[in-house]
């Protein structure tokens, strides 16, 4: 039930609300075409994958802190279950297994957690609600975009098992050829790598379906009066992300297929001639390994913004609400997101400063990379400006949003070291990089997501999440997070390289083992704290305090719908009269919010309000 003209269709729509009461279990909860259910499905799946990815990370951390020791708990369990690999190796993490652990940690976290939790879970749930549409433009495509996640999960899962744990994909999530192209190059470069590439393709298909849908929905299905510059920043960020995704993703998919054909059909895109890998026959060649790096990063750098922009948008919305103030500099916020997205296409080379590409490219990529720090800085200043003069109450949402800003500052500033090419000569592929991107992807994005879960939970289930558990979860996660990732900056300065199963065989790193043990302990605290989130989430679905339509006294359209909204979302079709950030407006007395749908003074607002033309031609405004 979607239409380009929601206003004209409003009466027909009311019937649908009744007509859909008899939906069966399967089409309501499994093969649902309702954007809210799909969003919730994405959220459950990504939280599940968060546990998987986190466990893999703890394996990595254990090896770095206590190399070659039997893993506690895991080795006992494996022994009971009769897992042959672990028993044979006395519960140790072998170097092959170690490379697989970090490869799959990154793959799972990036492709199955962060991208789908932002675009899939929150994008699906929020876009129609916030723009006043009854559903996505293409509900079936939307359902498929969720269900194409599962082949990806299955492929990634199979890649663990086809060769045993010691022969799972282990070329890093970046999968640089020649390592990933030649079967003999590593134990995990066989079938496991092929399955991994197919998983990647499925994730890509899923994201692509999502982004086409988001763009169409945002362009065509906004409620009457919802001009582009009255859209919440969440919607702007989802819109820009969808565009980024749609333009960058085909490149990765193409590169993935090229690598697949190289591996299975004997093509030569990436492998040059005359290589002798693992004492095998010389390669036939003709390829160029840097081609993969260019293609891969042409997607994967914009992907960093795909993994960040939606969180920026959601934090902007939440922050304005919790400090009861309009967002500071709404348009600069929009333009800076657009600038980040635009510049995001011309900075991929900063991942390749030491790769041996033409040094002149290093210079141009340095300048464009430095310039992308500018819109990021503008956003930070605007967030601080938003809090400035606000009324701050520290609930879980505020805590996570402030943590987002604070951690994003750290992650952004540490990026400057790497953007500077000469300094990057030293820092490239050290733990400084690891610290940097965890500050951005975990410190910023995941804290933003934790806040967003707490904030929009009442809209999903009609109940509030526990404040007490939420704060405790935040407190432990924040301490564990900083304890884990801040010392990694120092490790990086000490020249500690990434992806080493046992760095301590190198004398200059021997003394860093205690610091790694400290990091691992903090990582365990952080990991355990996530059970508070899961517990809080599940318990609150059943036992949370009942929430009304608008528990946060927020302005957005989603808060005019019932909690949880029924099929078709709105019982009264929303008409929009103003932007979403009119908190503490002097126009109303006795309350500090003014919803987007409230009509205060028809005579005054009619003059410049496109909403009043809505009945005649709603699609063509803006």
């Amino acid at each position: 039930m979607s239409t380009l003209n929601p206003a004209a269709d409003a009466s027909a729509h009311a019937h649908d609300v009744h007509g859909h009461h008899e939906i069966g279990f399967v089409s309501k909860y499994i093969f649902s075409t309702d954007h809210k259910m799909i969003g919730i499905q994405f959220l459950f799946t990504t939280l599940l994958m968060l546990i998987v990815g986190g466990s893999l990370a703890l394996g990595v951390r254990f090896q770095l802190a206590w190399p070659w020791r039997a893993m506690p708990v895991v080795s006992q369990v494996a022994e009971l279950a009769g897992g042959p690999t672990f028993v044979a190796e006395g519960g140790q993490i072998s170097p092959e297994f170690y490379t697989m652990l970090f490869t799959m940690h990154a793959s799972v976290m990036i492709f199955l957690v962060i991208i789908p939790i932002l675009a899939g879970a929150f994008g699906n749930f929020l876009i129609p609600l916030m723009i006043g549409a009854d559903d996505m433009a293409f509900p079936v495509l939307n359902m498929l975009s969720y269900w194409f996640m599962w082949p990806a999960i299955v492929c990634f899962g199979l890649s663990f098992t086809v060769g045993g744990l010691n022969a799972a994909p282990a070329q890093g999530w970046t999968s640089y050829p020649v390592l990933s192209a030649i079967v003999d190059s590593a134990p995990g470069a066989g079938d496991a790598q092929t399955w991994w590439l197919m998983g990647l393709t499925f994730v890509g298909v899923s994201s692509m379906m999502g982004s086409v849908n988001y763009m169409t929905t945002i362009i065509n299905m906004r409620a009457p009066g919802m001009t582009l510059f009255r859209m919440p920043l969440t919607i702007w960020s989802m819109f820009i992300t969808a565009i980024l995704q749609a333009f960058a993703l085909p490149v990765l998919t193409a590169a993935g297929f090229m690598l697949l054909t190289e591996r299975t059909l004997g093509f030569n895109f990436f492998v040059p001639g005359g290589l002798i890998v693992n004492n095998g026959d010389p390669t036939v060649g003709g390829g160029q390994p840097l081609l993969w790096q260019h293609l891969f990063w042409f997607y994967s750098h914009p992907a960093v913004y795909i993994m960040l922009l939606p969180a920026m948008g959601m934090v902007s919305d939440m922050l304005a609400c919790v400090v009861r103030k309009p967002i500071f500099g709404y348009k600069p916020m929009v333009y800076s997101m657009a600038a980040i997205a635009g510049l995001g296409f011309i900075v991929w080379g900063h991942h390749m400063f030491t790769s041996g590409m033409n040094p002149a490219l290093g210079m141009t990529f340095m300048i464009s990379t430095m310039m992308i720090a500018l819109p990021s800085a503008v956003k930070v200043f605007n967030w601080i400006g938003t809090i400035w003069g606000g009324k701050v109450t520290f609930n879980t949402v505020t805590l996570n949003c402030v943590a987002f800003v604070s951690m994003f500052i750290v992650g952004g500033l540490s990026g400057i070291f790497m953007a500077a090419v000469p300094v990057d000569i030293y820092f490239h592929d050290t733990y400084f990089i690891v610290a940097h991107f965890h500050y951005v992807l975990f410190g910023a994005t995941l804290f933003g997501c934790f806040g967003a879960i707490q904030f929009w939970f009442p809209k999903m289930w009609g109940r509030m999440m526990s404040e007490r558990l939420g704060r405790l979860h935040f407190f432990l996660t924040f301490i564990g997070f900083n304890g884990t990732f801040f010392p990694m900056h120092l490790l990086g300065i000490a020249g500690f390289p990434r992806r080493y199963a046992d760095p301590y065989i190198h004398p200059y790193m021997e003394h860093l083992m205690p610091m790694n043990q400290f990091i691992t302990i903090c990582a365990v605290i952080m990991g355990v704290a996530q059970f508070l989130l899961i517990g809080n989430f599940v318990l609150s679905i059943f036992y949370g305090k009942k929430a009304g339509r608008n528990p946060w006294n927020a302005n957005g359209l989603e808060w005019t719908a019932p909690s949880p909204p029924g099929h078709g979302n709105f019982d009264i079709l929303p008409v929009v009269y103003r932007g979403p950030y009119e908190y503490s407006s002097p126009l109303v007395d006795g309350r500090d919010y003014l919803m987007q749908t409230e009509r205060l003074n028809p005579a005054a607002e009619a003059v410049d309000n496109p909403a009043d033309d809505a009945t005649t031609d709603p699609g063509s405004d803006s």
């Binding site: 290589l275 060649g285 390994p289 709404y330 120092l490």
Partner: protein, 275 residues
Amino acid sequence: MNKFWPIFFMFWPILAIVSFVIAPGMDWWFPGPAMSPLGEQIDNLFYLILVIVAVTFVGTHVALGYVLWRGVDNKDQKAWFSHGSHNLEILWSIAPAGILMFISLYQLDVWMEFRVKTHFPEGTTPVAEVTARQFEWRIRYPAPGKKLMTTPQSDDLYTVNDLHVPFGRPVSIRLRSMDVQHAFFLPELRVKQDAVPGAVIPVWFEASKPGEYDLTCAELCGWGHYKMRGRVFAENESGFEQYLETLQAEQNFDGVTQPEHTGAQIAEYGIEDSQ
């Protein structure tokens, strides 16, 4: 109690600054001072950025702490109704743009010196070809007194993992890979360059002091990535020559004939040369 969270959020930046201040004393810092002139320049650029970043970090966090602190205290009925300030936006767009532009332009010279062949220091001589391979470094030197040729010569000298170079002058290596991608990383000298299959990349460096430096691999090259350990020995000119001669003698030894005593052996065992 309502001040707990602003204090909490300010505690971490302070801890971050403190940990950076004490880090060098705790040996959580660079693996020794830079042992090459280029490395010193890189370190200086690092410290320059560190200062700029530290000032920005403190500034933004003081601002964040201040607005949070005031926000908790805010007893007004309503928050400040403001949609932003055009002048502030201009100011905080232009100021960082200038600083970032300065940082990037200031870096260019060092980068050119490191990577652009025409800007290599004068007199940079190629000493060896280093071929990375899972999981070792194969090194090819020219015979003593000869020049390194691009194609292997019959009298070239070969060794594994130990790269000897003269110190005090810029030398270059031809970096290659025999199988997958590797990276040639000398942490003490602040040198890093990927070894790309199918390409030969010249890498120059200058060890300012004699000594033994670590050589590690910095690009994932397979399960044994971590153990791809080599060493770079920086020696004086005569030591380097002597090393090559020893290597040549070892390589030419047919297992039967008494090898000619080399200079190194004379020094080590005190054997007189019979001729």
